[in-house]
């Protein structure tokens, strides 16, 4: 494998994103070790999605550097990077009409360059099975519910078979049960397949219950990073969201009660 700096990880140093005078990511340095379920939390406009898209080189940085396993993202070869890191964006509008299987097969492009082999078909089948999409494989995306579509796009990223999987609000459009099973699936990806899954989450309780590590952002800076026990505290959350919350211990998990 590539990588000059020993341990597999995603690392940013002095990362900066500025639009005119507005600073969105403010000299952010962090290190995310591989093989974990990581959640990024923060208020609206804290820079969560911006950070994720910059790590995935979909958005050029105004300054600073992102390394994936020691390789600088801004100068890495696009197709080599696409075999190490996959990303699912929030807004997935398509100009063409595709079936679920066609969409998921696109996830194999970094490996197949469009010439689909038996190995690619197997990976697509595996991704469809993992997301419980086999019965829908032949359906067109515009015939699916929002949640089914969401799972189809996750399946595409899964078929890409990358070490790092970045998900921008994967719980969008999902009801309570589907959201839980999506988080369960993310945990299985880390435990069973050794993937590193980094998600932007809006619901602090999902982040608390399912993450190995949480990164809390405020105004483009890291406020806290670590296991839920150290990040899900009244002090940290007050700083992150600017509102008072109560922490409830329930079944060994820390839940946030923000209704009182």
């Amino acid at each position: 494998m590539s990588g000059m700096s020993g341990a597999a990880c995603i690392e940013t140093r002095e990362l900066l994103k500025r639009y005119g005078q507005t600073v969105v990511i403010d000299g952010l340095s962090l290190r995310i070790p591989a093989g974990q379920v990581v959640s990024i939390i923060g208020a609206n406009g804290a820079g969560k999605s911006t950070l994720l898209t910059m790590i995935a080189r979909l958005l050029p940085a105004s300054g600073g550097t992102v390394w994936i396993d020691g390789a600088d993202v801004s100068s890495a070869k696009p197709d080599a990077l696409a075999r190490r890191l996959g990303i699912l964006r929030q807004d997935n509008h398509l100009a063409v009409r595709l079936t679920v299987r066609e969409l998921v097969t696109f996830g194999r492009y970094p490996h197949s360059k469009g010439r689909t082999t038996a190995e690619d078909v197997a990976a697509v089948d595996d991704a469809l099975r993992f997301l419980d999409l086999e019965p829908l494989a032949g359906r067109y995306l515009d015939e699916l519910s929002g949640g089914q579509r969401q799972r189809a796009f996750v399946a595409m990223v899964l078929a890409q078979d990358t070490e790092y999987i970045l998900l921008d609000e994967p719980l969008n459009n999902l009801d309570l049960a589907r959201a839980s099973s999506m988080m369960g699936l993310i945990r299985r990806l880390a435990r069973e397949r050794g993937k590193t899954v980094i998600s932007v989450l809006h619901d602090v309780n999902f982040a608390s219950a399912w993450s190995d590590s949480i990164i809390a952002l405020r105004a483009g800076r890291v406020v806290a990073q670590g296991p839920p026990a150290s990040v899900i505290t009244a002090e940290v959350l007050r700083e992150v969201y600017g509102t008072e919350v109560a922490i409830v211990e329930s079944g060994g998990q820390r839940l946030v009660d923000y209704f009182t």
Partner: protein, 311 residues
């Protein structure tokens, strides 16, 4: 599907070459052969360019003509006649006119694409907007100059302003054929990458496609194809929209391995079929664009309505 379309195209070409020939085969065949050659070259160029352009813009109602290629061609011809007189245009000859039109169209479109797409986050839609504005300006300029022309000069000019396959110069036909063949081959070689481009900038980038490099390469090819076709026969992009959308409809897939060749074959069918109707149905008393757009439009609407019922 491809084989059937290819058969229809070949059949129409054979029909065009042989209908109503009265003696003198050695005159008629090369004469009509040249016209058919021009139709195949222009058809393939416009069809492939339109499909690729629509993929880049994620839009099925845009064609490269929105960039003002036709307007620029007409402006070049009008300015030539206005500034140097009709004699100058005739003296320049077919090859001179071709060279000037091709050079100016290619130069202007590439300058526009490369300067505006150079920045990291510049969007293709900005380029389109500039193209639309420039095209409108050129059209007004052309109209104003045409009103100032004397009637004789205007008549000479008018002959150049409509697409025509009649007076195609054999040398230019070979040159254009070689250029179009090269550019279409490159586009076809890019077909799998174009498939990924249909997913949009972010997804394509995430899948490891160099979006900006590919966009620049494809718009360059589009500019080469449209400039060559227009310089060869005149303003001709009108049927691109029709054949591209018919091709998506018939191919029933987004994959360029199918849509590119189907659109190209459809273009040949439409042009040659239209020319047969023009010559033998209307005795040359109308324009090819009128026939293609009218009949093609009816076919297209019928297909859309039929599909709407089936759903």
């Amino acid at each position: 599907m491809l084989a059937a379309l290819a058969l229809v195209a070949v059949g129409l070409i054979a029909a065009y070459l042989t209908i109503g020939v009265q003696g003198g085969w050695d005159f008629v065949l090369p004469f009509r052969g040249r016209r058919v050659g021009a139709m195949v070259v222009v058809g393939a160029a416009v069809a492939a360019a339109t499909v690729a352009f629509q993929t880049l813009t994620s839009n099925r109602i845009l064609t490269p003509s929105i960039m003002g290629f036709d307007a620029l061609f007409q402006a070049i011809a009008t300015v030539t006649v206005f500034a140097f007189g009709q004699a100058a245009m005739l003296r320049l000859g077919t090859i001179g006119n071709f060279a000037i039109s091709l050079a100016v169209m290619l130069g202007a479109s590439l300058a526009l694409f490369w300067s505006l797409l150079g920045g990291a986050r510049r969007s293709l839609h900005l380029v389109l907007l500039v193209g639309v504005v420039l095209g409108t300006m050129l059209r007004s300029l052309t109209l104003m100059l045409q009103r100032l022309l004397d009637p004789d000069a205007f008549l000479v000019l008018q002959g150049r302003l409509f697409a025509s396959f009649s007076g195609v110069n054999p040398t230019l036909l070979w040159v254009s054929a070689a250029v179009v063949c090269g550019a279409v081959t490159v586009l076809f070689a890019l077909r799998r990458r174009l498939d990924v481009m249909t997913l949009g900038r972010e997804t394509a980038t995430a899948l490891g496609v160099g979006y900006r490099a590919t966009t620049l390469l494809v718009v360059t090819l589009v500019a080469i194809l449209i400039s060559t076709a227009t310089a060869l026969v005149g303003p001709i992009t009108f049927f691109g929209l029709l054949v591209a959308n018919l091709a998506y409809h018939l191919a029933r897939t987004h994959r360029h391995a199918w849509t590119l060749p189907i659109a190209a074959l459809l273009a040949v069918v439409v042009l040659v079929g239209g020319q047969i109707i023009l010559e033998h149905g209307f005795g040359q008393r109308t324009l090819l664009s009128v026939i293609v757009e009218f009949l093609g439009g009816i076919v297209f609407l019928t297909l859309l309505i039929a599909e709407g019922r089936r759903r």
